[in-house]
Structure formats: C-alpha cells, structure tokens
C-alpha cells in the first residue's frame, strides 16, 4: 500500500488548491445570491481545468480518473466551501451514465458534463415526515410523486430519479434521467444551512422518455446505490479539507488570542482539546481513503461496509471537531459571518447528506460480517 500522491496527483492537488485560494478564499464575497446559486463563470472555470470531466471516460471528453483522484480534488475543494453541483454532476451522474448508460446516452450527456454545459441533480431522497412516503410512481408512462432535499435541484438541467417498485407499471426499481424543464416538474427552492440550494420537487404526470432510462434491463438499483456511494465518498473527502481548514483556524486562534495575560494555547486543557480535534481530523482522512478503497475494490459488500463506515464515522468526527471549534472560539464562534462558522455549517450539511451517522450504522448493520 502507498498513500503518497503520484506526481500527477500532486500537480492536480496544487492546481485545485490554487483555484480554491483564488476563487473562494481570496474573493471572500458571499455570492450565493447569484443565479443559479453560484457564479457560472466559476462553473466554467472548473470545466476548463478538466475537473468536470474527472470521471468522464477519455473517449467522451473526460480524464477518466479514479477514486484516489476524487479524494485529492474533493479534499482540496473542501478548503473552499463550494456551492456548485460538482459532486452530483461531475462525479455521481458522470459515473452512473458512464457505467449504466447506453451509447446514445453517453454521447448525449458525458461531453456536456465535461465541458460544463449540463448539470445533474440526484432526486433520491423521500420526505420522512410521513410513515409512508409516496416516492415516485409511474402510471401509464407518467411520473407522479415527490422528492425531497434535492441538492441544486432548483437549477439542474437533469434529474436522476429512482421510480419505486410499487408502481403498477413495473416490477423493480427503475432509474430515469428526467429533463427538469419537462411540463409537470415543479419545485420549491430552499437555501440550506451552508448556503447551498436544494429543492422539493413535485412530479405531476411527467411524461417519461424510455430513451432516458438508465441501466434498463440491468440492475438500476445497484447502479444508483453505487453512484450514491461515490457521492458519499466525495462528500467525505470534501469534509477532510474543510476539517483541516477549521482545525487550522482553531490553532491560529489558540496561538494568537490572549486571555489572562497569555495566549490560549498555553492552557493545557485547550492544548489537549486541540490534540483531540487533530486526532479526529486524522481519522477523518483515514476513513475517506478507506471509502475510496471500498469503491475501487469492485466488490459490492466491501464497498457498502467501507463507505458506510466512512460516512458514519465522518458524522461523528465532524460533530466533535465543530463543537470543540465553536467552544474554543467563544462568542465569535456563535456569529454567522465568522469564517470558521461557515465551515461548521458546511460540515454539518455534509454530515446530514445522503445518510447521517445513524443511517449508515443501520446500513452497516445489514452487512456486518
């Protein structure tokens, strides 16, 4: 085993870090009110760097990289609090289409993803405020139902939707790509705790084009689960970068903040707290790599166990580091525009997306050996 970055990965890492430094950190402006929730120029810049084609196969205009490269890119992006639909589009949708799409679908979507002209959102979650969520049903070739907390679902060009097996039309779960402008698709937009956007999406008799079904005749549910696991791993790698930044900000505060005539960092109780935080950040780094290995292993059970371990543990590490960071910053840690609390909000959102700790403990339980 070898965890050192290849020369190519080092260059990738440096390039993304420079990009983050310039685009997110130095600019320092809140541009979340720009439509569609992020500056389109930045999305184009991500495309120009090749990052939108990271997992798109080379014959469709991408770089065809693997999960270790995803780790490198997402960790670097995590230092910058991204709001772009990067994971859903460039990592999950691209992977799912590349693996489970027809040749026509690949030609139609993959180059567009890589060059920045198409965005995708994952409409996979159901509202849990009812014991029997409707999900999506298909009747007479039309979709009916509701999907919840769809990240960037207000602006995405395409929605990836699972259609439940209870549909009268069908026997198993099927997965479709739905053009978000199709009549019958409507959404309510929300701004999330971290400034990203999400949507509650209603499907009311949306006509389905059979040409846009993914993995037809294969195992679409498995494809979707695999794709979501890539998204979870990417989120966790992003969390590593954000946690590292938050820890660094906390250490700077400990070194510079003076109380009782000395810097906070002189107090042993705070030194040991900082050590505990650092240990959590290191563990976070480790489990994110573990998740990458789970996906690269090609074995479904290994992937489920590794990714759920990662996501469950990440939720715990995030909570620990964020809580201790806020406590260390004192009153400033309670203010909205204070830079570290923006990382706290992003990290909390990551911990809640695509299954929190409890969800992934449950999922792990089913696959424990």
């Amino acid at each position: 085993m070898d965890f050192t970055l290849t020369q190519e990965q080092q260059m990738l890492d440096e390039a993304v870090r420079r990009f983050v430094e310039k685009e997110y950190v130095q600019s320092g402006q809140d541009d979340s009110d720009q439509e569609p929730g992020y500056p389109l120029s930045r999305w184009q810049a991500l495309a120009d760097m090749g990052l939108l084609g990271l997992l798109v196969p080379p014959d469709h205009g991408g770089l065809g990289k693997d999960m270790t490269d995803v780790f490198v890119v997402m960790r670097a992006l995590g230092q910058g609090l991204i709001r772009e639909p990067y994971i859903g589009t460039a990592l999950v949708a691209a992977s799912m289409v590349a693996r489970g799409g027809t040749d026509d679908q690949k030609s139609a979507w993959l180059p567009g993803i890589a060059e920045g002209s198409l965005t995708f959102a994952l409409a996979t979650e159901d509202c849990d405020r009812t014991p029997d969520p409707s999900g999506l049903e298909m009747r007479d070739g039309r979709l009916y139902g509701h999907k919840s907390a769809v990240l960037c679902g207000d602006s995405a060009d395409w929605l990836i939707v699972p259609v439940s097996s209870r549909s009268p039309d069908d026997t198993g779960t099927r997965v479709f790509c739905i053009d978000a402008r199709t009549p019958g698709v409507s959404h309510v937009r929300y701004t999330n705790i971290d400034g990203q956007r999400s949507a509650e999406i209603t499907f009311d008799g949306v006509p389905v084009d059979a040409a846009n079904e993914l993995c037809s005749g294969g195992h679409p549910a498995s494809l979707l689960e695999w794709g979501l696991d890539i998204g979870r791993m990417a989120l966790c790698a992003e969390a590593v970068g954000a946690l590292e930044t938050l820890l660094q900000q906390t250490l700077e505060h400990l070194a510079t903040r003076q109380q009782f005539g000395q810097s906070l960092g002189r107090f042993q109780v705070l030194q040991h707290r900082a050590v505990d935080m650092m240990v959590s950040v290191e563990l976070a780094h480790s489990v994110a790599l573990m998740a990458a290995a789970g996906i690269e292993s090609g074995d479904d059970d290994t992937r489920r166990r590794y990714v759920s371990t990662c996501k469950a543990q990440m939720g715990r590490y995030i909570r620990h580091v964020c809580e201790q960071a806020i406590q260390t910053f004192g009153g400033m840690g309670m203010t909205r525009e204070f830079e570290p609390t923006r990382y706290v909000r992003r990290l909390l959102a990551i911990s809640m997306t695509w299954g929190n700790t409890e969800f992934h403990i449950d999922r792990y339980s089913e696959h424990m050996q």
């Binding site: 050590v275 240990v279 480790s286 990458a292």
Partner: protein
C-alpha cells in the same frame, strides 16, 4: 496512491498464515484465546519457534540480526499473530536490542546479543520509581562509582515480570545535581546480585505481573554501563522511540474485537444473543468502525515509515487511539457478561488449574480483563503525556 495490499504483501501474509497454521502450538493458542495467563516457558517456547523458523527478531533491522521487514510486513506479521491467537513477543527484547546495538560495548554485544530473541536471558525494565512516573527524570535511584563498581541504592516499581528476570536494564542517577540529560546513566543489573529484592504487586485483577524491585547496596561492575556515564537519558529516549512503534496494536485491536463479538454472541437476553440487541449491536458496530478507522490511520503512518520509526507525534496519536479503543472494547465485553459476570476465579487463569466444568474460562476473565486493561492508557507514557508531546511537537502550542 495504492489503496490495496500489493501482490508481494498478500504473498507475505499467506506465508505468515502458513507458518502460524503449522507451528503455533494448540495449547498456547487455547490459553491465549481463553485469557489463561501464560507462563514464562510459554513465551520462551514461542520465541524459539519463531527463531527456529528463521524469523528471529521480526521487528529488528537486519544489521541488528533481525528480519529487516518493512513497516507493512511487520504490521501484517503482528496482525496475523494476534488473530491466530499467538502469544505476544516480549517487548523488553525489542527495547534492549537496539540499545545494545547502538550504544553497547563490544563485550556487551558479545555477551548479550547472541540468541537475545530466544529469551535465554529474560530482561526487565527498571524505569519507574515511586516518585518518578510520568516525570521519569525525577528518578532518585543512585549509583555511586567506587573503584570498578557502581554501588546502587534505590527502588524501582511497576516492574513487569521482574520475578522472571535474569537482568534488568535501568536508569540510575550518577550525579547528584544537574539536568536529567547530564546526570542519569543506563545500567545493566544482574538480578541475582546481592542486595536485589523483588516483591510482587498484585494487580487489580488479582494477578501477578508487576513488582517492586529494591536495590540495596547492589554492586554493579562498571562494564555494565551502556553508553557514556550521565548520558542515560539519551539512551532511554532512543529506546522509547522503539517501544512506541508497537503500541499501534492493530492486531491486538482486531483480536479484542473478535473477543467482543464472541462475548456478544454467547450471552443471551430474552432468548436472543446480545449481538442482536439493538443497543449492544449499535455499540459493537461503532467499535468495529473505530477499529477500521484506526487501522487505516496506522496504514497511512506505516506507508511513510520505511525510513525509520514513525515521528514521535504520529506514534503518540496511534497509542492514544489504540488504547482508548481497547478500553472501550473491554468495557463492552464486560457489559455482555450478564449476572454471572460478577463471579471471578483468579486461580482458573493460572496454569495447572483443574477445570471446573461449570466455569467458562472466557467469561471468567471478562470483568478482570476490563480492570486490567485500565493499564494501557497509563503505561508506555500516559495518554496525557502523549497529548503533551503532540501539542508541543505537532501543533506547536
């Protein structure tokens, strides 16, 4: 980045497994897997089996007469040994070996190094004293030079296996004043010397590993000094850097996880094994996840580690995590013990005890094991000392 074991590493793991399948004596394996305490002869036997196989000194570099295995190979060997239920290799020989190689005189090397791994000489470590625990530099045992001997007076404590030991490597004060770096020496003491008294300390689990060692006008030949006089602190720090590498304990954690699952699978409530009880299962899963997170952290450290030991701060992180996890598992095991968990027959853990058919050896030790395992966050540098090291060296606080 390569996230999987290489073909060579997998082949090495197979070699180790084949060795263990073939050579690990069943009686030793059963003892280990049921918490029966090993005797001195058990350890000596296991060390000799390893040496006979040509794997003397798995953790030592080749120029120290060892295998020269890289960090990953050592991790694989350690892990497979623990999972198979092999006795541990004795840490004291892994400490004294590098010290003698690096600081010993030719006479000392010729006398002690041949067959060191075969445990013909049993070593113990004389560091801690009643007034010098975490603050080791406060030690007061003094050695006064009188002609060809040092006359040693003082007391060592928490000396593991001193009652089995032939020799003790210890730290003594050779100057009354001055910083520890300028007043402490590293001395080898023959335990049969007149004036050496070993008294047992019975641990909280009722067992005897620890001792007090009294040194009363013990005459130690000056040729038993290792390194220059008053430079023992440097020697000791060198030794500690070799001690910490094994504390990452992935193999040990995995074996304890196996034990924890066994405890949860063999105790029942309302007709169901505890492993199906939601509360116990939740804790078990979190611990299994913690063990995996720890393992991947160890792997990350090891992959940078082939040019020497891990940095002290990295070793400290691993020691903290490993020991906290072990304690959490020992607690969950105890929580699985049920109403009969309070029954404890310490004698049943000693060799030669005649089986009581109604007593389960594994269950018998669950509570004792919890109590005994409090030691791991204390020895080898307490958790608090480790955090001080990390804070100073890594976080620069």
């Amino acid at each position: 980045m390569e996230l999987f074991e290489s073909r060579a590493e997998r082949a090495f793991r197979e070699d180790v497994r084949a060795f263990l399948d073939d050579k690990l004596p069943e009686d030793l394996r059963i003892k280990v897997m049921t918490f029966v305490r090993l005797e001195k002869d058990d350890y000596v036997r296991w060390h000799n089996i390893i040496a006979d196989h040509g794997w003397q000194g798995p953790a030592w570099p080749t120029n120290f007469g060892g295998q020269g295995w890289n960090a990953m190979q050592r991790k694989i060997f350690d892990e497979e040994c623990y999972l198979a239920g092999a006795p541990r290799t004795i840490p004291h020989v892994n400490m004294i070996c590098p010290v003698l190689h690096n600081y010993g005189t030719e006479e000392q090397k010729a006398r002690f190094l041949p067959d060191l791994f075969r445990l013909k000489i049993w070593w113990c470590q004389g560091y801690s004293e009643p007034g010098a625990g975490s603050d080791l530099a406060a030690l007061r045992t003094r050695a006064e030079r009188k002609g060809d001997v040092y006359v040693v007076n003082g007391q060592k404590i928490w000396t593991t296996w001193a009652h089995w030991a032939d020799w003790m490597f210890c730290l003594v004060r050779t100057r009354a004043q001055g910083k520890p770096q300028e007043s402490i020496s590293f001395l080898l003491v023959d335990m049969r010397s007149p004036g050496v008294t070993v008294r047992p300390i019975i641990s909280v689990d009722g067992c005897h590993d620890l001792n007090e060692v009294f040194l009363d006008n013990v005459e130690v030949p000056v040729e038993n000094l290792v390194g220059p006089e008053n430079q023992g602190w440097t020697v000791a720090k060198y030794l500690l850097s070799h001690e910490r590498t094994e504390l990452a304990g992935v193999g040990l954690c995995k074996r304890m996880l196996h034990f924890t699952k066994k405890a949860a699978s063999t105790h029942f409530r309302d007709g169901k094994p505890l492993i199906e009880n939601p509360h116990i299962r939740n804790r078990l899963i979190q611990l299994e996840m913690d063990v995996q997170a720890h393992e991947w952290t160890v792997l990350r450290v090891l992959s940078r580690d082939d040019t020497g030991g891990p940095t002290p701060a990295a070793a400290s992180i691993l020691k903290i995590r490993s020991t906290e996890l072990q304690q959490a598992m020992s607690a969950l095991m105890m929580d699985c013990a049920g109403p009969r968990g309070v029954q404890y027959v310490p004698e049943a853990r000693e060799p030669g005890w005649t089986a009581d058919e109604d007593l389960d050896l594994f269950d018998n030790a669950l509570v004792a094991n919890y109590l005994d395992w409090r030691k791991v966050t204390i020895f080898g540098g307490t958790t608090e000392v480790q955090k001080n090291i990390i804070s100073k060296t890594l976080l620069k606080l």
